[in-house]
């Protein structure tokens, strides 16, 4: 048992080793950045000071924060509405509609990138927050998970609410939504991380540097400072820190919501 756990531990540490060296590199001086030792011999914060003062990284992080939060809030609202209707309301064509929504899971962003860009440009959303936020809201993954969750709720809840003369919106808002809090929390983390980490869409839709999101910021910083690995690792660590923090805090919820996807 202990032996097996030890072997798994070695495998796990091997897996995260590159991340540890990234962290270590962020604290190394330029002349020591290629030293093998994981613990920097002369640790320094200068790299962080440099990237935070010489490059508008805080601005990029703020942009990412704005976009990720806006997308997450809108996505949770819209997807829970759609998921609720698909799970709890009766109307003609429900199964066909669900299948069509489900089928959009098979559409990957890179494949539709060019036409999507043209659609978004036609709507006048190039180089503004709307273009970063609105197209990122819609994906079937969240609808699918929330529908699955609402399907599992007992019928009696709605009957009780119907007696109190709540409308459909009232039942959704006051009864179904509060019950869905655990899965909504897990999805919120998912959506936030996904948008914080997104690169291809912000790269396509923004030219104005004031609108750059963090991933675009570090990718471009890298192409300008291609050999300054101490700076690049500090910038990467800054970009990764919020996602790591969220992951460590919420990983239980993430794992259990992934397991409940019914993708099995």
């Amino acid at each position: 048992m202990i032996l097996l756990s030890g072997a798994m531990g070695a495998l796990a540490l091997f897996t995260v080793a590159p991340l540890l060296w990234m962290l270590s590199g962020a604290f190394k001086r330029a002349d020591q950045v290629f030293q093998l030792s994981l613990i920097p011999t002369a640790p320094t914060l200068d790299n962080f000071v440099y990237v935070l003062t010489q490059v508008p990284f805080l601005r990029y992080m703020l942009n990412s924060l704005i976009v990720a939060i806006a997308v997450t809030v809108a996505a949770l609202l819209f997807h829970s509405m759609a998921g609720y209707a698909l799970a709890r309301l009766r109307f003609p064509g429900r199964d066909v509609l669900f299948f069509l929504i489900y089928a959009t899971l098979m559409v990957a962003l890179p494949v539709i990138l060019v036409p999507l860009y043209i659609v978004v440009r036609t709507l006048g959303m190039v180089d503004n927050f709307a273009g970063l936020i609105v197209p990122s809201i819609f994906n079937a993954f969240g609808i699918f998970l929330l529908r699955q969750y609402f399907l599992g709720l007992p019928r009696e809840l709605e009957e009780a609410a119907a007696l109190d003369n709540c409308g459909y919106w009232g039942i959704y808002w006051h009864v179904a939504l509060p019950l869905a809090r655990p899965i909504m929390a897990a999805l919120a983390v998912f959506f936030f991380l996904y948008n914080w980490n997104s690169f291809l869409w912000p790269l396509t839709i923004t030219n104005n540097q004031d609108l750059w999101m963090i991933q675009l910021g570090i990718a471009s910083f890298h192409s300008e400072h291609s050999a300054a690995w101490n700076y690049i690792m500090a910038a990467s660590t800054l970009a990764a820190a919020p996602t790591m923090l969220l992951f460590f805090v919420f990983q239980r919820q993430i794992v259990s919501s992934l397991k409940s996807t019914g993708m099995k």
Binding site: A12, V16, L19, L97, T104, I118, V119, V134, L151, L258
Partner: protein
Amino acid sequence: MTQKHRQWLAAALFLLPDGAGLLLFVAVPMVLALAMGFFSVNEFGSVSFAGLQNYQAMFRDPLFYKSLQVTVTYTVVFVPSLFVVSLALAHLIQQRVPLVGLWRMLLFLPNFVSVVVVALMFQYVLGQRTGILDQLIAPLGGANISWLGDPRYALWTVIAISVWIYMGYYMIIFLAALEDVPREYYDAARIDGAGFWGRFVHVTWPLIRPTSFFVLLLATIGGLAGLQGFDLVFVATSGGPANATEMGIFYIYQQAFQYGNFGYAAAMASFIVAILLLWSIFLFALTRGGRFELG
């Protein structure tokens, strides 16, 4: 209005935002992706019918063949590797041993780091001679290898990094499937004298087929469409060296946004969509619908 019609109206309103959004930002672009290949569209928006010109140009373009070859190699190696690695990890992580929760968390962690950060980090760690890996293997008689800069290794390195990113995610998906296999089945197989391999072949494998189908489908779409590959290639190799990592999706991006050939890019994208569709149909047929129930 009757009760029934009130419910229809409510459903329509509940579905309106997501329905309209998916239509506008997913379905319409998907249809356009298939149609645009027949037009000549430049970045300023002038459009003219081009017939089969884009497709003819495509089949004469050596870089298109190269990018197709890279995409297919990437997918054919990436998908089975990811499948085997994540299924093996799921078996490991299913064991009830001390600290297993911590190990599971660490194995899942790479999935949450952005691909841009991953690409930068591996450029640092895998740098020629000065990188950590080359320094570590140097005493073993190894090597002065440019993992991402040598055309012989670059694509394999990109594939390995992709597996590293995604294995934790699919490990969790497989873990959920494994936990659903009733323990009595294993006990019965054990009584019949089945070893680990026997239990896997006769109990686990048939019961996790729907999950296997799902993983194969998603991983292939991800691989062919460059879901993870694009960011990695864009940041770590820019398609190089010598076009060794010039994935289809990256070449399409270059044609569209660096050279402004939107129609040509769309023609190539529609080719990838066709491959994706054929593969999905093939998988569905092969598994008789994957014994995979919607919802």
